[in-house]
Symmetry: C2
Subunit: 635 residues, 2 copies
């Protein structure tokens, strides 16, 4: 298997404790055995010489399905105890500590959320929707495959604390429609077992129309008894055949996908019907909230896509079965580089929620640009709305994976930091995201202080830099419609996606305050008042919430237009500086890894210049107001 | 074969001359036999009862390869005489006359140009680049096929006077690269024979890199002796194997295609090398002039794509071998609904030219909109430049075909009128194009006067209507970049294609007069002065040649902006009226044909409204100047 070990590429350390020479203990579960193996291999890679006696680390496996672990100092040396799954996480935590050169201290940990997962948008034909790191390693030529990467991927997930993985695209098409039907039970079981060895459960995306399309029934109405029976029987067979199945992820009534709306049923009626079918098997339903009108007439000024999800789901709060989790994207629209937090995440009172991040950098540079999303994820988790803080209200966390079968898994080497940070934050959302960026850098590139400082600095600044040279102040879109890569300021303007800025020669943006679409009011009175008023709205979201003239004065006295010009010039210069800083690491980073990143930086700089010049020139043409500093704009 | 007979669907006529009951004469060539068969079948379809004696039409085949025919009244009845090819054209001319209810009169005809051809952009996999009428009938699954449509297509071509057909896309890829190599000689010979029966010669598009890619040579340098030998030997074999081959069509140094530029050679050196190879076989080279920089930086204000073809080819005038024809598109850019005539067509003095029209409605509604191009073609043929009139200077005429394997051949039933008119104008460019539109209508729909009046009126107005609701005053583009269908006013603005309008809130267009890129000067002093001055420039080309403020006064006193608003409202209303006029033909046109066109009109009206509202709203947002008549614009 030609794949990078990523952050598990342990290097010899000079300062290992003596007990790393020997690991003992009775482990019985597959996970316990995996923990033991990882520790022995890991300690050896860290430079520990195996010893037959003397100090040792003892594993003590406890019964149960829990995920916590405890490291205690007993008189004969340290003891790592916990159920099998906990031991896996404990083992990787210990290895991480040692690899970072930190002394393990007694204590215990358990994950904050019981479900911490990655969603793959992998298609059965092996392609990946919005994938930027090669092809699928779960599917090839129409079939699921359990290949060399499956177990390796499970290791990577477990090593950062993740425990779930949805194999297939939420847009279920082609052979993926038959994953439910028994046709691929053998393959799924094999994948499930490989994942389960590291405590990772397998999930499937399913089509709401399956009873109709695969089951041969005349309807997929969730209240139809035959439909309910079909789902129950399908689940009875499937969960027996694939014991490690966690449940289903469902994109219903969204962008042309089938759903309960077709039968006049609510989202709750749809989700609960599936929940009932998986419940006897301990399964759960992840029901996506990405429901909006994707055939909007651009002439329609009243419909506001940002409102759609809350308007659809808030009235149903309390109506969902207890094994349904509503899966809301982090923002109300669609993974733009800057959006407010989805009101669903702070307003639902009686419904379990799972937030969906997107590590696949669909709108954030497609893994050709560096864009570390750790701070962005942390902003969402730490966000406090009327009913509390997001991280305290969530039942689970997931993200669209950024992986594929590229050697480095994530296309851009530095994109692996997103996978790493995501896992660490799922385990403990109170972590300082910046610390995880530093951890990842040291684990990946070793202890060189210049490398650590440079790479960490690049990661920490990268999202703001990307935001500066691309889409200003939360306005979103402005990218090329089919690819979502590169600038096209008017690309979505007359299209059906509900994503408009309606720029004229005087003003830009959609008014979402109380005088506009009223979207700001979805946050409740207090927060709604902050967002709804342009003077109190956070500046980075100003054009998400407000339609403003170009001469609007920002808090620092600059005009809105000048601020946008400045951001683009500064962001682009910062991208150039990051590329240069990387160049200075030549000889300090392994040459293949150095070159891979260097090539990506060249493309990032090219693309950043294009973004800068296109967005600025477009605004210049609209307004004919020159840059105050006389920098070049193009007529 | 499930294909419409198009205009060859003869209906019984009440007024047939008696001699249509019997056709006699000695014919020996395949073409002479085809003529005899067509006459007998055609007369029968027109209602003539076969008779064993009595008045008759006599065919008199003469030797030779000529294409003229003569109808003379001898004492025993009419005689149609000419070589075999001429008899085919004479036969179809006679049938047309009779089908139209006109009395055939003695006389003779010969085509104006020796080569009158259709270029197919068919790919070996069966797809058609910019095809809007289904898939290829020349290729299926990577192979050329001689199927039921081949002969039928040759009939249709011959019936309107065409005599050449290039089978494959000028962008030669995939298996089409092997058409040269002997791999498909059998298939090509079969197709060639089927076409030749109706006097149609077969042509192939070839890749200039063939010696390198298929021949295994280290270069394709046209001055390399081994390359020259490879082409000679390849042609010796190919022309023997495919006796009806006319020659090659070549897209070189164009949009990424290989060409002589790669070896520092001129277009003439490239073309002449191929000309030498085909010359022993009577072959000719059609060398496309579509050479321009397709990776232009949009920031570059100096490069003007409109200049590129003339700048490249004019200095080479006189250097091309006598069996090379330079193939220039009708306009200097790329088949936009309105362009000036290419200066290559009126300035080259010592080089043979073939003009290329595009029946495939890439930029003119993709055979979902009616856009009859007869008048547009006629404008080009009748255009007079410093060295004479285009139609008098041409050596040949060709067009990109609008056909495919759809039942009706052309996607839109009314698009067949473009094929018909094109053939008729190739035969005789002095014909009144409007008369051909009327002919086509009567041949297609029969003698109903309301149908004739309605359809002819639709055809005659259709191009101006399309122009009105789409792209104003020759400015071009503004369509969706990948598909070239539907509006996207800024879609090409920051791209690499050299197709910009550079609209600001005050002005729009590229200045191509002497103060600008100087393109107007390519027409010579007199015509250049007309185009180069905004006050004398034809208004329909105003924005092709000039950059103007929105308040520029048109000759009728309206502002430029108001003219554009008006055109869009009027053009869209006219499209709606055309659709309504068609609806009124229900019951008068065969119901399947009626419905096919009705469905297309619905799409045309939808799309016309979109064009109207997008272009107008885009200009309104740019300027905030409302429509003087208060019609709806969208912010």
């Amino acid at each position: 298997m030609n794949a990078s070990p990523l952050w598990l590429d342990f290097r010899p350390r000079p300062d290992l404790p003596l007990w790393t020479r020997r690991v003992t203990g009775e482990v019985t579960s597959p996970q316990g055995k995996a923990a033991l193996r990882e520790l022995r291999q890991g300690f050896a890679a860290l430079g520990a010489e195996a010893a037959g006696d003397g100090p040792c680390l003892r594993l003590r496996e406890e019964p149960g399905e829990g995920e916590g672990w405890r490291l205690s100092a007993e008189k004969d040396g340290p003891v790592l105890s916990g159920p099998g799954r906990g031991l896996v996480y404990g083992a990787f935590a210990l290895l991480r500590k040692l690899a970072l050169g930190e002394a393990p201290v007694p204590g215990e940990e358990a994950p904050r959320y019981p479900l911490r997962m990655l969603d793959h948008w992998d298609n059965a034909d092996g392609s990946i929707e919005r994938g930027y790191a090669g092809n699928s390693f779960f599917f090839r030529e129409g079939r699921p495959v359990c290949g060399g990467r499956t177990r390796e991927y499970a290791r990577l997930l477990a090593s950062v604390g993740l425990n779930g993985c949805c194999l297939n695209n939420v847009n279920v098409t082609g052979e993926a429609l038959y994953l439910l039907t028994g046709k691929y039970d053998g393959e799924l079981r094999a994948i499930g077992e490989a994942l389960a060895e590291y405590g990772v459960s397998l999930w499937l995306s399913v089509s709401f129309a399956a009873p109709l399309e695969q089951g041969g029934l005349p309807t997929a109405d969730p209240l139809d008894p035959a439909v309910r029976r079909w789902w129950r029987e399908t689940c009875d067979r499937l969960f027996r055949a694939v014991p490690d199945l966690g449940g289903f992820l469902v994109k219903a009534d969204s962008e042309g996908r089938p759903g309960p709306q077709s039968y006049g049923r609510t989202q709750a009626e749809g989700a609960n019907m599936l929940a009932e079918a998986v419940k006897p098997h301990g399964g759960r339903i992840l029901w996506r909230c990405f429901v909006y009108d994707c055939t909007q007439d651009w002439r329609d000024l009243k419909t506001d896509r940002a409102r759609a999800q809350y308007d659809t789901f808030a009235p149903l709060d309390g109506q969902f079965a207890d094994n349904v989790l509503l899966q809301a994207k982090n923002g109300p629209v669609d993974f733009q580089v800057r959006e407010p937090v989805s009101p669903l995440l702070v307003r639902l009172e009686h419904t379990k929620s799972i937030v969906e991040f997107q590590l696949a950098q669909e709108y954030t540079g497609q893994q050709k640009h560096v864009c570390w999303l750790g701070a962005a994820m942390k902003e969402v988790l730490d966000f406090t709305g009327p009913a509390g803080t997001v991280k305290d209200r969530l039942s689970a966390v997931c993200a669209v994976s950024n992986t594929g079968d590229d050697f480095n898994w994530t296309g851009h080497d530095l994109a692996a930091a997103n996978l790493y940070t995501f896992g660490r934050l799922c385990w403990d959302p109170d972590l300082d995201a910046e610390v995880t960026a530093r951890e990842w850098t040291r684990l990946t590139y070793g202890p060189d202080p210049l490398v650590e400082a440079t790479v960490t600095d690049i990661l920490l600044r990268s999202r703001e830099v990307y935001e500066q040279y691309t889409v200003p102040l939360g306005i979103g879109w402005m990218c090329d419609p089919p690819t979502h890569y590169g600038p096209s300021p008017e690309g979505f303007e007359y299209d059906r996606w509900g994503t408009y800025h309606r720029a004229t020669c005087r003003e830009i943006g959609v008014e979402r305050g109380p005088a506009g679409t009223g979207y700001s009011e979805q946050y409740g009175p207090a927060l709604g008042a902050v967002y709804g008023n342009m003077d109190t709205c956070p500046e980075e979201l100003l054009l998400f919430f407000h339609r403003l003239p170009y001469d609007y004065r920002m808090r620092d006295g600059r005009t809105l237009l000048q601020r946008i010009y400045d951001d683009h010039f500064e962001g682009c210069a910062a991208a150039e500086a990051m590329a240069k800083a990387w160049d200075a690491l030549e000889g300090r980073v392994r040459s293949d890894a150095f070159r891979r990143v260097q090539v990506r930086f060249r493309e990032q700089v090219r693309s950043a210049r294009e973004w800068r010049d296109v967005v600025n020139s477009w605004l210049y043409r609209l307004t004919l107001i020159p840059d105050e500093k006389g920098r070049k704009l193009y007529l």
